[in-house]
Amino acid sequence: MSYEDAKQAYWRQIRRLTMLMTLAVAGSMLLVPLFMPALNSYRFLRFPLGYFLTGTASLIALAALLYAFFNGQQKNDRAYNVTLQF
């Protein structure tokens, strides 16, 4: 693989990862709240379920996903030999 091809392939991977993660952010921050009215009649730990999913569960899930995202980026850097990292 030439240097230019490798650069392109590296950037494609990064773009794919970023798109997936942006979708995850949009999903958990913009879609989950819409289910609040429907789910709030159930309760979990005495919280209305919809609110708990919006205000607690999705935050923790997103924080964990961000770790995974950065791990993915680091792995990609190593795979494409972007090793002269400062």
């Binding site: 913009l30 709240p33 950065f70």
Partner: protein, 621 residues
């Protein structure tokens, strides 16, 4: 090819420094609790708990003074990941967001989670979209980044001028709020023999403190004071955990406030507190600064904001935080790319803790206040309600002849609601001061970040980058300090206007920075074809649309509330930037090269490449 690998060395004694700071602060609190029991006057307790941390910030600012441009603009790029995360979280969750969202939860119920979700999503979005690329650029300011990426001084100047508006709005809002909170704790200026109006005196104190903390060391001072301020902010957990243990037997308020929500639901039904349960526009529903009574249900979703307002608020705040000119320099302050990624790992964890804690605080606070005060006949009010009224935290109108009439008209003030919890929980007076001190810490952190963003941009982009390109670093630092002084004076005047509504102002400012910079920042990282003229068009169009719509009156366009004007500004900005870039010319080879460089998180930073090339050109001449 020579590469710049010099990785700055992190101060190995940082951890012990912060441990000493945290233990000193804890000791102060414990000492004051003991002295209070021994009969120390409450005024002295209030005074000490607020002034000692402020003196600490000023001392840290003095100890981290610097004359180096690297230190002044980017804290020497040697901030360890964890401390960088602390400083970033402290600046994002500033006083207006902290106190404003506690107030919004109180009056609008669970819908107010939108404000916090917006802040959290903004931080995550920054991590996803910008982290390695902006660190790779290594720019001092947001306009400086655009200059490195697009090679255009015009784009830099336009960005530097436009960023002043949102940053100054946040700064004025924070200073006004800081003055208001100080008013609950400090003696009146007349008692000290100062002939100023109380509001002016307290706001002046906030401005002086802000100037002293950041003027000497710039970003370096700001970083370490903000990290210390976050430690003080965390002390808000002390009254919250105490109350949580008293009411639920568990020291985990973030997971136990569901019980308070249940109780509030019952109380609201039994006492008939819900007067409005249909959403209206966001601008109307968001609580204002005037004292008002509780009218909306606590746990009915979308009973205050419509689903559309809710989502647009999240989008505007998220984009506004991701593209905020005050937060972008934070993406260049760690030594390496890996440490910047680590830093955002910490940011996610710390921000999640903050976002989980604020609603817990708000609902414990609300449950106690409603249970004891609202809908309760005058004779059955607890003794501490008099103290609340004396401090001006609530107003309990009515008289002894008609006790039932008074019961429903208890009014609360949005910005001082957080101070009710320690008193309602029957905690020692120190905790009242502790809560105020943590709110003030949040205010100072956010305000100093905005102050620094404007001053650095004026010094580095407008002066050093445009007016006098050969300016020495010393000269630029002098200009930055002078700008801070002028800004502090201007903001002091602005904060004295009667209608400063800190929460609305901060949301509007985030909307403005989202509309102006979000599209251009995203395109500059993710679209090679962006040209300088396209970027200028994008920023100007986004700013114009957002600013005009923010000030528009009349029927909302397509249901978009003026506060979430960025919902129109961001598409306008994207549209203008893409169209103009495609129509007017192609980017030059150097610009494309910079775009490609930005994609590879290794090698030298764009900033050091520019410096190296400039040095080489000078040597050849």
């Amino acid at each position: 090819m020579t590469l710049n690998y010099s990785t700055p060395v992190v101060n190995p004694r940082l951890g012990s420094g912060f441990a000493i700071f945290a233990s000193t602060y804890t000791c102060l609190v414990l000492l004051l609790i003991i002295l209070e029991q021994l009969g120390l006057a409450v005024q002295t307790v209030d005074l000490l708990i607020v002034t000692v941390p402020a003196l600490f910030y000023i001392a840290i600012g003095f100890m981290t003074r610097t004359t180096g441009a690297d230190d002044f603009f980017l804290a020497g790029q040697r901030v360890p990941p964890f401390y960088n995360a602390l400083a970033l979280c402290a600046t994002v969750f500033g006083g207006s967001i902290l106190l404003g969202s506690i107030g919004a939860f109180f009056f609008d119920g669970i819908d107010a989670i939108a404000i916090l979700l917006g802040c959290f999503a903004g931080l995550i979005l920054t991590g996803v979209l910008f982290v390695p690329h902006l660190r790779k650029a290594g720019a001092n300011t947001l306009p400086g980044f655009l200059h490195l990426r697009l090679g255009s001084t015009r784009a830099r100047v336009v960005a530097a001028l436009l960023m002043i508006v949102p940053a100054a709005i946040v700064l004025a809002a924070e200073v006004a709020l800081g003055g208001k909170i100080l008013g609950f704790l400090l003696p009146l200026p007349q008692m000290l023999g100062i002939g100023l109006a109380p509001a002016a005196f307290y706001a002046a104190l906030v401005c002086v403190c802000l100037f002293l903390t950041v003027a000497l060391g710039g970003m370096r001072s700001a970083t370490w004071t903000q990290a210390a301020q976050f430690v003080v902010m965390l002390s808000i957990l002390a009254p919250l955990i105490s109350v949580s243990v008293m009411r639920t037997n568990l020291p985990l308020p973030q997971l136990t406030y569901g019980a308070e929500l249940e109780e509030l639901k019952t109380l609201e039904a039994v006492r008939g507190l819900v007067a409005i349960s249909q959403p209206s526009t966001l601008s109307e529903t968001l609580p204002g600064t005037a004292p008002s009574a509780i009218m909306r249900p606590s746990e009915r979703a979308f009973s205050a904001y419509s689903p559309m307002s809710f989502l647009l608020l999240i989008v505007c705040l998220a984009a506004g935080i991701a593209a905020n000119p005050a937060f972008v320099p934070r993406l260049s302050t760690t030594p390496t790319i890996l440490s910047m990624r680590r830093s955002f790992g910490w940011v996610a964890a710390i921000a999640a803790l903050v976002v989980l804690t604020i609603p817990a605080y708000a609902f414990f606070n609300k449950a106690m206040a409603v249970e004891a005060l609202v809908g309760v006949p005058m004779p059955s009010l607890p003794a501490w309600s008099r103290l609340l009224q004396h401090l001006g935290l609530v107003s309990l109108p009515g008289n002894q002849f008609d006790p039932m009439n008074a019961a429903h008209s208890v009014t609360f003030q949005r910005d001082s609601l957080a101070l009710i919890l320690p008193i309602a929980g029957g905690l020692p007076r120190v905790f009242f001061g502790l809560t105020a001190a943590s709110a003030l810490a949040a205010i100072a952190a956010s305000a100093s970040a905005q102050l620094l963003a404007i001053a650095n941009s004026v010094a580095d982009d407008l002066y050093g980058g445009f007016l006098s390109k050969s300016a020495t670093p010393g000269r630029r630092l002098l200009i930055a300090r002078f700008t801070m002084l002028v800004l502090c004076a201007a903001v002091f005047v602005a904060s004295q206007s009667r209608n400063v509504d800190s929460l609305r102002w901060v949301i509007a400012a985030f909307s403005l920075s989202a509309g102006t910079f979000f599209a251009v920042l995203v395109l500059s990282v993710w679209w090679r074809r962006l040209t300088a003229i396209g970027a200028i068009a994008g920023m100007v169009a986004g700013f114009a649309v957002t600013a005009l719509y923010l000030n528009a009156s009349g029927r909302p366009f397509m249901g978009v509330d003026p506060l979430t004007a960025a919902a129109l500004g961001i598409p306008a900005s994207f549209g203008a930037a893409i169209l103009i870039s495609l129509i007017l010319g192609r980017p030059s080879e150097q610009v494309l090269e910079a775009a490609d460089e930005l994609r590879i998180p290794a090698g030298e930073t764009l900033q050091s490449r520019v410096l190296r090339l400039a040095t080489r050109a000078k040597a050849q001449r």
